[in-house]
C-alpha cells in the first residue's frame, strides 16, 4: 500500500509542476522511481488506514490481530463491531427477522427513527418469503406490514409494488424485477443497515482506503493529459507499467 500512496503523491506533485507546460512530457522509469523514493509516508498513518478499513468493514479477528502486531489502536470499540457484524451476516444470509431483532437489541432508536431503512429491511423480508415459495405468508406479510408503510410514503408504495410483482411471475428469473432476488439485493440491504449502525455510533460509514485509491486513479487521469509516466494500472498488484514512448 505504501507504493500506492507514494505513487499518489508523486503524481500530484508532477501534475502541479506540469501545469505550465503545453506539450506532453515523458518521464522514464528511472526518473519516476527516484521521485517515488523521495516521498515519505509514515508507517503510523498506513497502520491507521488499515485498522480503519478492518474495523469499518467488520473484520474483528483481523483487527484484533493487527492491533497486537502493530500496536495501532482502533478508533472504535471492537466489542461493538461483533454486534454489528452479526446483524450484517444475518441479512446476508437472508435471516431478516433475526437481523431486525439484533438491531433492536443494539439500539432500538435506529429502526424507529429511520423509516427508509426499516422499510428496506421489511422489503427484504418479503423477498425472502417469496424466494422460499411461501406465497400466502408473503401476501399476508405484504398486506399487514408493508402496505401501511406504502400508505405513508409514495416512494415506498412504488417499491412495494415492484416487490409484490415478483409473485405475479412463474419464472422469476426472467421477470423485470428479478434483480430483487439477487444476492446483490441482500448485500445492498446489509450495507445500508451497517451504515446506519455505524452512524448511530458516530463512526464514519465508509473506510478511507477506497477513497484514497479513487483519488489515485483520478490524479493519474489528470496527469495523463500532461505527461507520459509509469502508471499503476492494476491496483491489486500496484505494479508500475512503463509509459508508451
Amino acid at each position: 500500500m505504501s507504493y500506492l500512496l507514494n505513487q499518489l503523491n508523486a503524481v500530484r506533485h508532477l501534475a502541479e509542476f506540469e501545469a505550465m507546460a503545453t506539450s506532453k512530457k515523458v518521464i522514464t522509469r528511472e526518473e519516476w522511481e527516484k521521485r517515488l523514493n523521495d516521498v515519505k509516508v509514515r508507517k503510523e498513518d498506513m497502520n491507521k488506514l488499515v485498522m480503519n478499513f478492518l474495523v469499518t468493514e467488520g473484520y474483528v479477528e483481523a483487527a484484533e490481530k493487527f492491533r497486537l502486531e502493530s500496536g495501532t489502536e482502533p478508533d472504535i470499540d471492537i466489542a461493538t463491531i461483533t454486534d454489528r457484524m452479526a446483524v450484517k451476516k444475518a441479512v446476508q444470509c437472508g435471516n431478516l427477522e433475526d437481523a431486525i431483532e439484533k438491531v433492536n437489541d443494539l439500539n432500538p432508536e435506529i429502526l424507529d427513527t429511520n423509516p427508509q431503512l426499516f422499510f428496506h429491511l421489511q422489503q427484504q423480508r418479503l423477498i425472502e418469503l417469496i424466494r422460499n415459495g411461501k406465497v400466502e405468508e408473503a401476501l399476508e406479510f405484504a398486506q399487514e406490514e408493508l402496505a401501511p408503510r406504502g400508505e405513508e410514503n409514495q416512494s415506498f408504495l412504488e417499491e412495494l409494488e415492484r416487490t409484490v410483482a415478483l409473485l405475479a411471475f412463474e419464472d422469476v428469473t426472467n421477470c423485470p424485477v428479478g434483480e430483487l432476488l439477487d444476492i446483490s439485493q441482500r448485500l445492498k440491504t446489509a450495507s445500508e443497515v451497517n451504515a446506519a449502525i455505524l452512524t448511530s455510533q458516530s463512526h464514519e460509514k465508509d473506510p478511507k482506503l477506497p477513497s484514497l485509491l479513487k483519488m489515485l486513479i483520478w490524479a493519474q487521469n489528470q496527469l495523463d493529459e500532461k505527461a507520459a509516466y509509469p502508471r499503476i494500472n492494476d491496483l491489486s498488484t500496484g505494479a508500475l507499467e512503463d509509459p508508451a514512448v
Partner: protein, 590 residues
C-alpha cells in the same frame, strides 16, 4: 336451567394473545421477558402496530411490569431476569413514545415518567441507556411535562445530566432544554448556570451529543440578544467558529441544526453574521438539505423561511440560487408528507412575499395547480400554508388585474375554507381572499355567486376579533371599485344594521376596516352616497358618533360642525359625503 356464557365472537388475535400473556399472573417471568421483546420488535418502526397495541392497553401493562421489576430490583427471586425485563420494558415504552403523540400520552398517563427518571442513575449502563433513550423520545413531544428550570433542584439535576459520561444521558439533557426552554427568563437562567459552556463542550463529542447540543443552544439563544452576546463572549472560546464548522459536517441533521443556530444569531442580533458570504452559504446549504428524503428535508424549508422572512435581500439571493424551482420540483414529485408540504408552501410564501419576479417564476412553473389542489388537504397546517402562499402570490397586481385568480378552481375551495373548523386556516383563507377580491376586472360577481359574501358576513360576526377584522377587510376589498349591481348583491347579505354594529365594534381595528368599507361603498357614481343614509340616517349617525369618539383632531372638528346641521338637502348630503370621505381618509388606527 343454567345459563351459559355467550360464545366468543372471534378467537383472540395474536396481538390480544400477546397482551394477555403480559397481563396474566400465571405467565412465568422468563416468558414475560420474551413477550416484552416480541412486543418491542413488533412495534419498532411500525406506526400501525403501535396504534393497534395502544388500543389493546399495552402501555399500562408494560408500565406495570416495569414498576414491579424496579420495586424488586436488588432483591426478589427473579434476579437473573430482573434487569433484562427493566431494559426491555423501558425500550417498549420508548418506542410507543417515538414520534407518536397518542403513545406519549398513554405513557405519561400510565405513570412511566417518574419510573424512567429513577432509572437514570442505575448501575447497569444498559438500563441507563434504555431509560434515557425513552425519556428523550417523550421529550421530543409537546405533550411532555414542562421542565421548570427556575427550581434550583431541577437545574442541578439538569446539570448532572449534561455532565454525564453517557451520551444518551447528555442527549436527554439536551432534549429537556430544547423542549422546555421558551421564555427569556428561562434562557437567561440556563445561561447563568453555565449551561452554554457545557453545551459548547458537547459540540466536540459524539453525534448524539453534537446534535442535542446544537438543538438546545438554538433554544437558549433564540430571539435573545443578551444571551447571544454571552454565547459569543470570550469565555466560550470560539463558539461561533465551532458552530460554523458544523455547517459543513458530514451528517445532514448536524448541518441543519448548525444552520438554525446561525440563523437565530443572525435574526436576533444585527451585530453578527451580516456579511454576504455567510448569507449565501446558509442559503446554499439549506438548498441542498431540502433534497434529503427524511426528517431533515422536512425541516429545511422551515429553516429557510426563518432565514428569509421579511428580508428582501435574502429572498433575492435565494431566488438567484433557483430555490423556487427546487421547491416546485418537490411539489411535482408528489410528496405526501404533510410537514414537508407545509414547509415548502411557507418557504414559497416567504419568497413571493415582496419580489414580483419570484411570483412570476412560481406561476410560470405551473406550480399554481399544486397550490389549488392542497387547499383541500387533510392537514390544517398544509391548508393554512397554501392560503398564505396564495395570499402572497396574489399581491402581484399584474396577475390580479389579469383576473388569473378569480376563477372557480381558486374561488370554490377558498370559499369552502371559510367554513373550516381551524381558526388559523380561516384567517389564512381570509387573507388570500382579501387580496383576490381586489380584482380590477369585473369578475367579482363570481365570488359573490359562490356564496363568498354570505360566508364573509357570517365570519364578521365571529367571537374571535382576528377573524372579524380579517372578514371585514375582505369585504372592504370586495367593495373596492365594484359596480352598483354587485354593491346591491353585497348589501343583500351585509345589512346596514350589520354595518352599523361593525362600525361600533369594540375592537378599533374592526372599526377602521368597517369605516373603510363604507368609504368604498359610497365611492363611485353620485347616487352611491345614498347608501350612507340608509336606515333613516342611522348609519350616518353611527359614523358620526364614531368619528366623534375617536381621537383624531382634524377629522372631528370638520365633521362635527356638519353633523350638527339637521337640514338634509342635497347640497348638505354632498358636503357630508365629502366630509366623511376626507375624514375616513385621515383616520388612522388608534
Amino acid at each position: 336451567m343454567p345459563t351459559s356464557a355467550p360464545p366468543p365472537s372471534n378467537y383472540p388475535t395474536r396481538s390480544e394473545d400477546l397482551i394477555g400473556r403480559l397481563n396474566s399472573v400465571l405467565t412465568p417471568y422468563e416468558t414475560k421477558l420474551k413477550t416484552l421483546r416480541e412486543l418491542k420488535n413488533q412495534i419498532i418502526g411500525n406506526r400501525t402496530k403501535k396504534l393497534a397495541f395502544l388500543k389493546l392497553g399495552a402501555v399500562p401493562s408494560v408500565v406495570s411490569i416495569l414498576s414491579s421489576a424496579v420495586a424488586e430490583n436488588g432483591g426478589g427471586s427473579n434476579l437473573e431476569f430482573n434487569e433484562p425485563v427493566i431494559i426491555q420494558s423501558a425500550a417498549v415504552i420508548g418506542s410507543f413514545a417515538c414520534g407518536l403523540d397518542a403513545g406519549v400520552k398513554a405513557v405519561l398517563d400510565a405513570g412511566a415518567f417518574p419510573l424512567l427518571f429513577g432509572l437514570i442513575s442505575h448501575p447497569n449502563e444498559k438500563v441507563v441507556d434504555a431509560s434515557a433513550r425513552s425519556l428523550k423520545m417523550i421529550y421530543q413531544s409537546k405533550l411532555a411535562p414542562k421542565y421548570d428550570f427556575l427550581v434550583e433542584k431541577n437545574m442541578d439535576f439538569l446539570l448532572s445530566l449534561l455532565n454525564s459520561k453517557n451520551e444518551n444521558v447528555t442527549g436527554l439533557g439536551g432534549s429537556i432544554i430544547t423542549h422546555s426552554c421558551h421564555t427569556s427568563i428561562e434562557q437567561e437562567t440556563l445561561s447563568e448556570a453555565g449551561v452554554i459552556k457545557m453545551l459548547i463542550n458537547l459540540l466536540r463529542g459524539s453525534l448524539i451529543q453534537r446534535d442535542a447540543s446544537l438543538e438546545s443552544l438554538g433554544a437558549i439563544i433564540k430571539e435573545n440578544p443578551g444571551v447571544i452576546s454571552k454565547f459569543m463572549g470570550p469565555e466560550n472560546g470560539r463558539a461561533l467558529n465551532v458552530v460554523t464548522e458544523l455547517m459543513k459536517d458530514r451528517y445532514p441533521r448536524t448541518r441543519l441544526l448548525a444552520c438554525m443556530c446561525l440563523i437565530h444569531i443572525r435574526n436576533a442580533s444585527l451585530r453578527y453574521l451580516q456579511d454576504a458570504g455567510i448569507k449565501t452559504k446558509l442559503i446554499l446549504i439549506l438548498f441542498e438539505l431540502i433534497d434529503d428524503p427524511g426528517q431533515v428535508g422536512d425541516e429545511a424549508p422551515f429553516a429557510l423561511s426563518s432565514l428569509i422572512a421579511e428580508k428582501e435581500d435574502l429572498q433575492k439571493i435565494a431566488f438567484d440560487s433557483n430555490i423556487v424551482d427546487k421547491l416546485c420540483n418537490h411539489l411535482e414529485k408528489g410528496s405526501f408528507q404533510a410537514k414537508r408540504l407545509q414547509g415548502i408552501f411557507l418557504a414559497l410564501a416567504d419568497l413571493c412575499s415582496k419580489l414580483e419576479f419570484c411570483r412570476d417564476r412560481f406561476l410560470s412553473l405551473k406550480a399554481f395547480n399544486f397550490l389549488t389542489n392542497v387547499l383541500t388537504h387533510d392537514s390544517p397546517e398544509v391548508r393554512a400554508a397554501a392560503c398564505i402562499c396564495l395570499k402572497n402570490i396574489s399581491r402581484s397586481v399584474k396577475n390580479l388585474s389579469a383576473g388569473h385568480f378569480m376563477n372557480e378552481t381558486v374561488i370554490t375551495p377558498l370559499v369552502r375554507l371559510l367554513q373550516d373548523t381551524c381558526t388559523s386556516v380561516l384567517i389564512a383563507a381570509l387573507g388570500a381572499i382579501s387580496n383576490i377580491v381586489v380584482d380590477f376586472t369585473v369578475h367579482k360577481s363570481k365570488f359573490i355567486h359562490c356564496g363568498g359574501v354570505k360566508q364573509l358576513v357570517q365570519l364578521s360576526k365571529s367571537m374571535d376579533s382576528t377573524i372579524r377584522v380579517n372578514a371585514v377587510w375582505a369585504l372592504k376589498n370586495l367593495m373596492f371599485l365594484v359596480n352598483s349591481m354587485c354593491k346591491e348583491e353585497i348589501l343583500l347579505e351585509l345589512s346596514p344594521s350589520m354595518l352599523i354594529s361593525l362600525i361600533c365594534d369594540p375592537e378599533t381595528s374592526v372599526q377602521e376596516q368597517a369605516l373603510a368599507l363604507v368609504r368604498n361603498l359610497v365611492d363611485g357614481p353620485m347616487d352611491s352616497v345614498e347608501y350612507v343614509f340608509a336606515e333613516e340616517g342611522l348609519l350616518l349617525n353611527a359614523i358620526g358618533r364614531q368619528l366623534q369618539s375617536a381621537s383624531k383632531v382634524e377629522v372631528l372638528i370638520q365633521v362635527r360642525s356638519d353633523f350638527s346641521c339637521s337640514d338634509l338637502g342635497l347640497c348638505l348630503k354632498k358636503k357630508t359625503y365629502f366630509m366623511c370621505a376626507r375624514g375616513l381618509l385621515y383616520l388612522k388606527v388608534g
